[in-house]
Symmetry: C2
Subunit: 190 residues, 2 copies
């Protein structure tokens, strides 16, 4: 297979993995993934050792896009408080989409129930990256205990994504923003 | 089959369903469930129309036990604030168990990604029951906006369960309790 075909098979498989794992969960089968990608199982196993590896690779590839969506476009514009609120405004916007199933990284962690799985490790790193951003902003905003505030914001982030993704809550009235504001106030953050 | 055998097959199947769905997720197969329960597939299909129905029945049967674990043993003892904190103390305790995988009802909602699934409906009712308890206590405690506070507490409850269940957070230092306290204070709850 020429290199470009290989690259495009890989991309098509990862596109299918992104979509199907997010929509249907991690138990989606290799057949469905290959069929959606238009790639033979033989080719798939030349590109990825296993379905698990393909899941991890798809989450890894998706990460920059996911982070670009959540993070303020200009990382120094506005106040630390505004930068944190921006993240939750983005979650609110995403949750209004009909195909929203919550944060893909949290979903994978909940579904796999195995912290050692290669995909869980990618998901954990994604979560740590966001917590780190919260911590940095909390420090810059003079929060009393930036580490505690960052962990509290992660509870809200994951609680809001999971509940809105499962359609047991709606975020469009600003629920997450109001909660985050109360916690930033309680931490005496500017 | 005599009635008592039928009852015991049903109980054994529901016990297996409780354990396996919680530990491994909703994609556990009928074979594994029947093998664990020591019940033939034929008998299983005499008792339940489908695996989906068995999952819903197992969540339904588990509900009183789950609620008894979370709710204060004496529903009028202590203050409304203490009754809410009791729930989060129980989550903290549960999360210290090695086999903790978070709230079983949230996990099913996240995994099924289908609000119309019979098991999602049981899970949603479990969530609504807890939110209702929070709302009642918030009202009794004079919170400024009891409905808002109840929804915020649900974000914390599900965020904390999901993150601790996925081993990306620990609750043993009182993270959830501290967060809930900050939100009750912000709502001017007694």
């Amino acid at each position: 297979m020429p290199t470009t075909d290989k690259a495009s098979s890989r991309d098509r498989l990862l596109d299918a993995a992104d979509r199907l794992f997010y929509r249907d969960g991690v138990s989606v089968g290799v057949e469905a993934l290959c069929r959606t990608a238009g790639v033979s199982k033989r080719s798939m196993y030349q590109l990825f050792e296993s379905k698990d590896e393909m899941l991890a690779a798809s989450l890894e590839r998706r990460l920059p896009r996911y982070q670009a969506l959540l993070m303020p476009p200009d990382p120094v514009a506005g106040t630390p408080r505004e930068r944190i609120l921006y993240v939750f405004e983005q979650v609110k916007k995403a949750s209004a989409e009909p195909d929203y199933c919550g944060c893909p990284y949290l979903a994978v962690l909940v579904e796999l129930k195995d912290p050692e799985h290669p995909a869980s490790q990618v998901a954990r790193a994604a979560k740590e990256h966001l917590a780190e951003m919260f911590r940095t902003q909390a420090e810059e905003g003079g929060a009393r205990d930036p580490e505690l505030l960052a962990r509290q914001l992660m509870l809200i982030f994951d609680g809001a994504s999971a509940r809105a993704g499962a359609r047991v809550e709606r975020l469009d009235d600003g629920l997450a923003t109001a909660t985050v504001t109360a916690l930033m106030d309680a931490a005496a953050m500017r």
